[in-house]
Amino acid sequence: MMKGSQKSELAKREQRLAYKMLLPTLVILVVVALYPLVNVFVTSFTDKTFASSKKAEFVGFDNYKELLSVKIMKLPKVENEDGDMVYENPLRILPRKPMRYKEAFQFNFFGNRYVFGATNPDFLSSIGNTLNFTIWSVLLETILGLVVAMIVNIKFRGQGTMRTIMLVPWAVITVVSARIWEFMLMPTRVGLFNMIGDWLGISNGSVSFLTNRALQLPTIILVDVWKTTPYMALLLLAGLQIIPGSLYEAAKIDGANKFKQFIYVTLPLLKPALVVALIFRTLDALRVFDLFQILLNNQRYSMATYNYFQLIQAKRMGMSSAIGVLIFILIFVFALIYMKGLGVDSDD
């Protein structure tokens, strides 16, 4: 009996200490994050205009409906002026009221032709662009980051220099590094890549990396991989550092080769660091802004640049808040998948 209450007294003390130590973070959180976040949620249900004194009105889910409404409709065959049978113009088929649907794309299914209409195809394609960008760039920089981290974890002459070199891309101011790449990617031989392509004879020296739709995303992904591999590598390096060397020795004695050591020792012990690095990189990639804004300049949107466009150019603050909330939800889903999928929060 005595022992039990003593124990609970200890547990209570531990709990109190925990809350005390969380206090600074919580205070900062409340001051700096609570109001803006609540504000975004509230604004997303209004038609508030940016930088104007016009009174905002409550519009319910209208902003969300406009962003997310989609319709798939069958295109009938009709006769055109020349007497040929062609598919009907999607604009005639898609509903115009209460909101106007625009064609996103067409597809064939069991011999029929369908149109995929959306009230806001730009936003939907921005989601596609962002997901595509996120998956590829996070995957590539995780692999590359792991390789770099494992190399600089080995003791060799020049290790310190290499660790410094490793961080250079991350250290270059983001806005400027986008400009450096823009300059290197110029569609003439003034740009480095076209000069090299021409010199090697593999291109005519006028490849438009940033205006050719097929090249836009791969180009941006590669630029991002360059820029953020250091971030990944450094976080993973810190994770590698805390794996005790004795474990490798034990594995060696048990006859595990280098590959087996990697699979059975390195990866499991690296998992906590890897998950945190993945979550934060994914979160940043889903909000990618600078690269799309500077390199693609409204030719093609990411979710965040579309959000920016709605706010600054279209001045639709309610709409932009709704986009912000949707991005928030998407990011939250990703974070949950990582946490559950990789079993990080299962230990308590």
Binding site: E14, T25, Y35, P36, R163, T164, F183, I327
Partner: protein, 283 residues
């Protein structure tokens, strides 16, 4: 290592270094070119004289950047803002991470998500809300930036450090307890030094993130132009030499602000080596 393996290893290192450094080299190369040299077709790997093709770098971009008061001012502002942000994030973050990684309390898991949620909105969306807070609190530009930078530095710091505190064996806390340490003493005297590599790592990443931030800085220094940080100052370069966009000067400025960070990394990277060597912890 056998000789062949060694050669392969260093070859790999050379390859990776080249990949990581060549855009930076291109910035250096461009910063040493005049406007005419920048537009040469085809572009050249080093600055050369268009007439006779001899090596001819120019330092006028650097000269004009160094004379620019905005630029020097920007370095000072960025340093103050980034150092303060990093310090605050590390202090508050390591406290919170200790609680989350090593103490048992109700609502631990939810707390992790709440802290993460703080950083899940795109910057553009929360800008107007933040602006309202700053006008209410009547903060100057420096404090506005420091406080708002917490949004992206603090959750990151808390999460990374939490994962490191969790890794530390419970036995350390127990033996410290036996020795008569209070939990807070255990944290400050024993656990914190052990997480030094993680502190340095997160500190460096947070520092650079704060140093490079653009959108918040642009907004909060709109009125107080003297408080502009480096990225904002560079974006406002009008160019002293150039008629159009001063690309050469922007590149020179980039080199000048990246070098101190590289030196900083060079100094601190020694600390990223195993803090958990045998002896302090036996796993």
């Amino acid at each position: 290592m056998t000789k062949l393996k060694k050669i392969g290893f260093y070859l790999m290192i050379a390859l990776i270094s080249f990949y990581l450094l060549f855009p930076f080299y291109w910035a250096l190369n461009s910063s040493l070119k005049s406007e005419a040299q920048l537009q040469m077709t085809p572009t050249t790997l080093v600055p050369i004289d268009p007439q006779n093709g001899s090596f001819s770098p120019t330092f006028m971009n650097y000269a004009s950047v160094i004379k620019d008061k905005q630029f020097l001012n920007g370095i000072a502002n960025s340093t103050i803002v980034a150092v303060t942000t990093t310090t605050m994030a590390l202090i508050a973050g390591s406290f919170a991470a200790f609680a989350m990684g090593k103490l048992r309390f109700k609502g631990r898991k939810q707390m992790l998500y709440v802290i993460l949620a703080m950083t899940m909105f795109p910057q553009v969306t929360i800008l107007s809300g933040l602006y309202a807070i700053i006008t209410t609190l009547k903060l100057n530009a420096w404090f506005s930036m420091i406080l708002t930078y917490m949004i992206f530095t603090l959750p990151f710091t808390v999460w990374v450090l939490t994962s490191f505190f969790k890794e530390l064996p419970v036995e350390i806390m127990e033996s410290a307890n036996v020795d008569g340490c209070t939990p807070f003493q255990t944290f400050r005297l024993i656990l914190l030094p052990l997480t030094a590599p993680a502190l340095v790592t997160t500190g460096l990443l947070a520092f650079i993130a704060a140093w490079n931030e653009y959108l918040f800085a642009l907004t909060f220094t709109a009125i107080e132009k003297n408080a502009r940080t480096i990225p904002v100052a560079i974006s406002f370069f009008t160019g002293i030499i150039s008629r159009q966009e001063p690309f050469g000067e922007i590149m020179a400025a980039t080199i000048l602000v990246t070098v101190p960070i590289v030196v900083l990394v060079l100094v601190f990277q020694r600390k990223i080596i195993a803090g958990l060597t045998a002896g302090s912890v036996k796993g």
